[in-house]
């Protein structure tokens, strides 16, 4: 009875199709936004920004992107790492080729570049489905990483083969490079997360999103009622890659500052994002955030607990970390195969009736 919907009357269709139709939800959302945008930047320190907030935000964008493709459109992709690399390298090329261009535009543009690449690698999805498609996207993963390692033009012929982000400012405040304040890093990521989550929500509640979900649930029926499968699938690949590309660009420019393609964007990252989406909840925007937070924060939390509190030796702690994270992932998948988002929904149902069982 803490959370109630009684007394909420929606008398028009626009009211009913809001993201948060219930007043309590809406105010809570505004409150969280206010805290995230206005409160957190004042208190965030280097550790919190670099170890917790920025990685969660960057990975959330990647998870959102993959969730659009896999969760909403039903196309499995193992090329996420490769697409993040496209975002990172195009961001690097744009930043070095056009030093006067605002970095925010650079990041958005790298999203568009990745979207184009995504469309190209999405073409096989028109013919193949499921696991076979996953294997086809795996080709994208290996090809793209090989490309960025093998063609020196992409890393501007640097001796180390790495790309290092140049210093750039927004409104006179450094957001990339070694002298960036933690709060600036955090805020720029927050900005992208906010804009992209809003776009994702709009797309998934309108007819584009419905065409994706129709393809996911029953592709033959979708085509019979007028969904063009070519358009819907390629759109999903484009939008998904756009998100993933921006995530890669931020990962490189804001979070790490210097990357090397095979290390930063290997197959591991593809799996990591897939795990986030599956654990968070397929076909849920909240789930993307929850999954990213779970995967990124769990090791941090365990490390603090094992090394910091229980003062285990670092090597044992590191190895146990893997075991515990793995076990927890399995535990969660068994207990709630529909992901954290579904768990949250169940919790809400319970809360609605609390303290009564029915």
């Amino acid at each position: 009875m803490l959370y109630r919907e009684a007394g909420e009357f929606r008398t028009s269709y626009p009211d009913d199709s809001q993201t948060f139709p219930i007043a309590f939800d809406k105010f809570r959302y505004y409150a969280i936004l206010a805290v995230l945008f206005v409160g957190v930047p004042f208190i965030v320190n280097d550790y919190w920004a670099n170890a917790v907030l920025v990685p969660v935000l960057v990975w959330s964008i990647a998870a959102l992107g993959l969730n659009i493709l896999t969760g909403y459109c039903g196309q499995i992709s193992l090329g996420t790492g490769g697409f993040m690399a496209v975002g990172a390298y195009s961001c690097y090329k744009l930043m070095t080729a056009f030093p006067d261009l605002n970095v925010v535009f650079c990041i958005f543009l790298s999203g568009f570049v990745t979207a184009l690449v995504g469309i190209v690698f999405g073409v096989p999805s028109l013919r193949i489905k499921g696991f076979y498609l996953a294997v086809a996207t795996l080709a994208a993963q290996f090809f793209l990483v090989w490309l960025f390692n093998g063609v020196p033009w992409f890393y501007n012929y640097s001796a180390s083969g790495q790309i290092t982000v140049p210093e750039r400012t927004v409104f006179g405040i450094a957001v990339t490079g070694p002298y960036t304040e933690p709060w600036a890093k955090y805020l720029i990521c927050m900005f992208f997360v906010f804009v992209l989550a809003w776009l994702a929500r709009n797309l998934t509640r309108s007819s584009v999103g419905r065409s994706w979900m129709a393809i996911r649930d029953m592709d033959i029926a979708a085509e019979i009622i007028g969904v063009n499968p070519l358009k819907a699938k390629l759109q999903a690949f484009a939008v998904s890659s756009f998100f993933v590309g921006i995530s890669g660009a931020l990962f490189f420019s804001v979070y790490l500052g210097a990357v090397e393609a095979s290390e930063a964007f290997g197959i591991n990252q593809s799996f990591l994002v897939l795990f986030m989406v599956i654990i968070g909840g397929l076909g849920s925007i909240f789930g993307s955030f929850a999954g990213a937070a779970f995967i990124v924060l769990l090791p941090v939390l365990l490390k603090n607990l094992l090394v910091g509190r229980l003062s285990w030796p670092t090597d044992i702690a590191t190895n146990s970390e893997f075991i515990i994270v793995g076990a927890l992932i399995i535990f969660f998948l068994i207990v709630e195969p529909h992901g954290l988002a579904h768990l949250a929904r169940l919790f809400k149902e319970k809360l609605r009736l609390w303290p009564f069982p029915h």
Partner: protein
């Protein structure tokens, strides 16, 4: 239903303009001849039934009409124009909607979303406008929601509006599927065994919906059904198929007395 049976004389049904004409359709799968030289027409505003024993080629016929199969021979004329071979989603855009023998709903989507998806071909706002939830896109969404709600009212499924259809009982799923097809405001509605697996009351409900759709919206309906009672009661004209061939075509009373049809259903003494 009986009022309809008597209304065969009603001038509207079965005597209108020809909406769709199928001429000499033959469909082969490798060496198997699924449909062999079948011709018939569907007139504006009528309820046209296609019947026949199992494996007669009825569903294949429906799949030909909805563009899912492309016949090797024959012509399809729709609204006075010859229809070139086209993909199903283009057929849908021309105003042909259908339901499936085994329910083919989008199981994880809500009833409302399923019906809204049925209006896919009617929604015009651009990708960018939808991404930004820009004025026109939001207005369009609301307009179409109103239309979708009218169908929800018509089918009496208000209570399950926001429930994922995968969790609904069979009868309701059939109803939602009809709603999704109706949402497209089709010129021609194809129903593949709309009453399969239903009990008597559900069949009566479904028959009533089909007649109401035909009466109120003037939608032309072509349906496949095995329940002879229902078919004889609600349809204006019937095509009978057996082994891929057309063996009868006419009003229910004529079909009932057609010797070929009786032979096909009851067998012939040798």
């Amino acid at each position: 239903m009986s009022d309809k049976a008597n209304s065969e004389a009603k001038p509207k049904n079965g005597s209108g303009e020809i909406l769709m004409e199928l001429k000499g359709i033959s469909l082969r799968f490798g060496g198997v001849l699924a449909i062999s030289d079948v011709s018939f027409d569907i007139k504006e505003g009528e309820i046209r039934a296609i019947i026949g024993p199992n494996g007669a080629g009825k569903s294949s016929m429906l799949n030909v009409i909805s563009g899912f199969y492309h016949p090797q021979e024959g012509e399809i004329w729709f609204r006075g124009e010859r229809r070139p071979s086209m993909r199903p989603h283009r057929v849908a855009a021309q105003g042909i909607a259908r339901t499936f023998q085994n329910i083919a709903l989008f199981k994880r989507m809500t009833t409302l979303d399923n019906i809204m998806t049925g209006r896919m071909t009617l929604m015009k706002s651009s990708f960018a406008a939808q991404a930004l939830w820009w004025g026109p896109a939001e207005r369009e969404e609301t307009e179409h929601r109103e239309k979708a709600e009218r169908i929800i009212d018509f089918l009496g499924i208000q209570a399950i509006r926001k429930i994922p259809v995968g969790t609904l009982p069979y009868g309701l799923q059939k109803r939602v599927e009809l709603g999704r097809a109706l949402a497209a405001e089709p010129k021609l509605l194809l129903l593949d065994e709309p009453m399969a697996g239903m009990n008597v009351e559900e069949k009566e409900d479904m028959s009533r919906f089909i007649l109401d759709v035909n009466d109120e919206f003037g939608t032309t309906i072509a349906l496949i059904e095995h329940d002879m009672g229902v078919v004889m009661d609600i349809s204006d004209r019937i095509v009978v198929m057996d082994y891929g061939k057309k063996i009868g075509d006419g009003r229910p009373a004529e079909i009932r007395n057609n010797q070929h049809v009786i032979d096909a259903y009851l067998g012939v003494a040798h």
